[in-house]
């Protein structure tokens, strides 16, 4: 394989007010390789990508492509030079159709005019290669984040011509989609493309990448061959000290008030989103909802928090029958909810970290009992420290934080309300390895204090570690429950897979 240098960056520096996001970083991408860019939340990965592709003007440094120096001033120019990018934040237009999002800026034409038919057909083909069968004539906003992510990838892959950059493309994808994506990435690599890949999933790094560049606090730690770098050492490089995963993991403690039911749902159902389900959440219990994307996990959470209205079923909190639920009532009852799709539903970009954190607390207290700014600052600073949110101060606008740190702020928002029931929908998505374990530890501590947690995660390991009980969902149906020693990753997977495959022994189950 040709190992010639494709893209080389030297001495890249970039600072924002109060933050040195990158200082003198070197980076080399070779032809025909997949190169992981690793680092904790706020290490500077996305900033490096944006500096390379002309979104940010770099303070210092030079970039060469195929040996020639380049100065892209905008993503458009970078594209013309052969660098196509999927940025961390969703970078598509929700009001346009799926097909347009893939082809905008480079429409197929017939007699000077845009040829919609060809565009739709080619989009369909392109997405089918990623195993995605959707109506490309629908507007993008009518699809889930996972689908939108796949569309963004399809667009970048189709444009790519030399260099493809993917900034956390897999954070909202299901396993099957990740598989399809990897298949495409391998094919492109064999064709000689260079791919930069950012993720916080170590398994994915070891599955697909050839080299790893590690950043820490905006500085280059080093470049390594993936095969020669053990995991613990990779993480040690990222966090800057020796890493021992066993130290960090918390353990399930004896719980106060267990077996005291707190929330009981009987036959809760909503047509088209979830079939009747019975759920009991005890005090101080971590109850997991397992299942694939679209199995109804999120839908259950939304019913309980009152975002969606059930068609049927009963709902009691502390033995008191609830005739209806809506989010404000849920908050008053002491519920907290971190939604799955934080990019859309969670952050208020223009507000500061402090304001974002006290938002839910203020909502519960009512608008007229204002919290003093000093008190707000205290709360914010507490959580900034607890969750290791990387920021110069609590007054920073949340949209200036790195993706993972924004996520932590949303988590802090609900922790600050000191809820009785905390609903966590994929709380660790996009969060770095170290903080992930911190958050798991925190969940266990909360449960120890008698707080109930409804926990949703695609990472089964995380589920097994945190949960006391796991309810397994499949195709919008509850299909079983596991607890205690039965609750292993294999068993959960088995149940998820078995629902429709009882006679098929070749389903690749177990491992």
């Amino acid at each position: 394989m040709d190992t010639g240098q494709l893209l080389r960056a030297q001495g890249i520096s970039k600072s924002f007010p109060g933050v040195q996001a990158l200082s003198k970083v070197d980076f080399t991408l070779r032809r025909g390789e997949i190169h992981a860019l690793m680092g904790e939340n706020g290490a500077g990965k996305s900033t490096l990508i944006k500096a390379l592709t002309g979104v940010y003007e770099k303070d210092a440094g030079m970039v060469w492509m195929n040996g020639r120096e380049i100065h892209p001033k905008s993503p458009l120019q970078a594209q013309d030079m052969g660098i196509s990018t999927v940025y961390q934040e969703v970078n598509l237009c929700p009001n346009l159709t799926v097909a347009e999002n893939i082809f905008i800026g480079r429409y197929p034409r017939k007699r000077m005019l845009i040829d919609w038919e060809t565009m739709n057909r080619r989009s369909q083909e392109l997405l089918e290669r990623l195993d995605l069968y959707i109506d490309v004539k629908q507007s993008l906003s009518s699809y889930s984040v996972a689908v939108q992510q796949m569309v963004a990838i399809a667009r970048a892959v189709d444009i790519s011509n030399g260099v493809l950059i993917l900034d956390e493309p897999t954070s909202s994808l299901d396993t099957n989609e990740v598989k399809q994506l990897f298949a495409v990435m391998r094919k492109l690599r064999n064709e000689g493309l260079g791919i930069i890949f950012v993720t916080h999933f170590l398994d994915q790094v070891y599955e697909i990448t050839d080299r790893i560049t590690v950043l820490r606090n905006g500085k280059l730690v080093g470049e390594f061959e993936t095969e020669q770098l053990p995991r613990t050492q990779l993480v040690s490089h990222m966090i800057g000290r020796e890493w021992n995963p066993d130290d960090a993991a918390g353990s399930k403690q004896a719980r106060k008030g267990e077996n005291q039911p707190f929330v009981i749902a009987k036959g809760l159902a909503k047509r088209g989103s979830i079939e009747p389900i019975d759920l009991t959440i005890h005090r101080g219990e971590v109850l997991g909802l397992a299942g694939l994307l679209g199995s109804g996990r999120t839908e259950v959470a939304k019913l309980i928090f009152g975002i969606d209205k059930p068609d049927e079923g009963e709902f009691t909190i502390d033995n008191a029958m609830m005739s209806s639920m809506y989010p404000r009532k849920a908050i008053q009852q002491g519920f907290g909810f971190t939604p799955e799709d934080r990019k859309v539903a969670g952050i208020v970009g223009e507000l500061s970290i402090r304001e974002n954190i006290v938002l839910a607390l203020q909502a519960r207290e009512g608008l007229f009992k204002a919290l003093s700014v000093r008190k707000q600052k205290e709360i914010a600073d507490h959580y900034i420290q607890l969750l290791r949110i990387k920021t110069p101060s609590s007054e920073q606008k949340i949209e200036n934080l790195s993706g993972g740190n924004q996520q932590k702020v949303i988590l802090a928002r609900w922790l600050a309300t000191q809820p009785k029931l905390l609903i966590l929908d994929e709380p660790t998505r996009g969060i770095d390895v170290g903080s992930k374990l911190e958050i798991r530890k925190l969940i266990l501590e909360l449960a120890g204090q008698g707080i109930s947690v409804l926990f949703i995660s695609a990472e089964l390991e995380e589920m097994v570690q945190c949960c006391d009980r796991v309810v397994v969902l499949r195709d919008k149906n509850p299909i079983g429950e596991l607890a205690g020693a039965d609750m292993t990753e294999d068993r959960i997977m088995h149940m998820i897979a078995e629902g429709g495959l009882t006679h098929d022994q070749t389903g690749g189950i177990g491992a």
């Binding site: 934040e89 969703v90 237009c93 929700p94 800026g105 009518s142 390991e461 389903g507």
Partner: protein, 350 residues
């Protein structure tokens, strides 16, 4: 072929609502007043409002891009004054038309440049442009100027006969050509689609590699051009220049866009909409004229009411959209089931 019902979607339902309203209003008028249901009454709607159709269509592009242009009415007045004073000095009609259009485009380019380059808010910039244009027309003269150019006179008087004894003016032809070009341009050119993308998300457009600044500058230049063209057509219609012409008409243009289903938040709408909106308000005006005793201010009240109604409809549609926003992909089930368990295992094992 899909049935009509199948073709109604979230996106075009407002257009259908506007069409329905049009038919209802016109039907009510025909039922109530003799002489309302005549070809010429209908055609007059276009003759009297040709300039507004053009201006509102330009405005629609700006609104779809996520902006607003408050200067349109002043530019029409300025163009009428420039035309008037140039004719006084004996200028040729074509020179006058070219100069008028150039003025509009220059204003638009200025607006666009300030908005794109310095990230200023379009409300502020075009408000300034509105005062500036109105101010310059005062400078030219505070009196109204009568235009007696032979070419303008001829165009003004010329009647294009249709079947029967109906007729339209040349201005109507210009307006219809503009609308057709706008519809095609919006759907079939890269510039048109970039405007929609911009209205959907400016940041995403930039990250996707669209020429954001160029598009912003162009869309305001286009609106300036349309305002100037509207000004020329308006001058054909009134044959006079006056600095107080059409005070507040920018709001009529915005209203026409809203009634025609152009979402003020940007990113949505069909370019046939503004014309339908203009005709709607035109019918209301005609109704009140036929009624005879009501003051013409009732037109404003009716339009205000309609605006509320259409805003409410738009809001409902947006809310509906948000609610239904979680379609996931349909997959080939067999492939999915067999592949998943294995890789679920791989993820998340530290």
């Amino acid at each position: 072929m899909k049935s009509l019902y199948g073709r109604i979607s979230h996106n075009n339902i407002i257009i259908f609502a506007t069409l329905l309203l049009l038919v209802l209003l016109y039907g009510a008028g025909s039922f109530q007043y003799t002489g309302f249901f005549s070809q010429q009454v209908f055609l007059n709607l276009f003759i009297d409002n040709a300039y507004l159709i053009i201006v509102a269509t330009g405005m629609a592009f700006v609104i779809i891009s996520g902006g607003i242009d408050l200067s349109v009415a002043s530019i029409v007045a300025l163009v009428s004054m420039v035309a008037g004073s140039l004719f006084q000095q004996g200028a040729n009609a074509f020179v006058v038309i070219l100069a008028s259009l150039a003025i509009g485009v220059l204003f638009g380019l200025g607006h666009g440049y300030l908005i794109a380059r310095f990230k200023l808010h379009p409300w502020i910039v075009t408000l300034a442009g509105m005062f500036l244009a109105r101010g310059i027309s005062y400078l030219i003269s505070t009196e109204s100027i009568v235009i007696s150019n032979s070419f303008f006179n001829e165009v003004s008087q010329y009647k294009i006969r249709l079947f029967g004894d109906g007729f339209i003016s040349i201005s109507v032809v210009i307006a219809l050509v503009v609308v057709v070009a706008a519809i095609l341009g919006a759907k079939y050119t890269a510039f048109g689609r970039a405007i929609y993308a911009l209205g959907g998300s400016e940041k995403s457009s930039m990250l996707m590699g669209l020429p954001v600044e160029r598009t912003i500058v162009s869309v305001y230049a286009l609106s300036g051009f349309m305002s100037a063209l509207g000004g020329v057509v308006f001058t054909f219609y009134t044959l006079s220049g006056y600095s107080l012409h059409l005070l507040g008409m920018e709001m009529d243009a915005i209203a026409a866009c809203v009634i025609g289903g152009i979402l003020l938040t940007g990113g949505f709408g069909y370019l046939i909409g503004p014309m339908l909106g203009v005709i709607c308000t035109g019918i209301i005006q005609t109704l009140i004229m036929f009624q005879g005793t009501l003051s013409s201010w009732w037109t404003k009240i009716a339009i205000g009411f309609l605006l509320f109604l259409f805003m409410a409809i738009q809001r409902l549609i947006v809310m509906q959209k948000d609610r239904g926003a979680t379609k996931s992909a349909r997959r080939k089930p067999a492939a999915t089931l067999q592949n998943q368990p294995k890789s679920v295992n791989k993820i998340g094992n530290l």
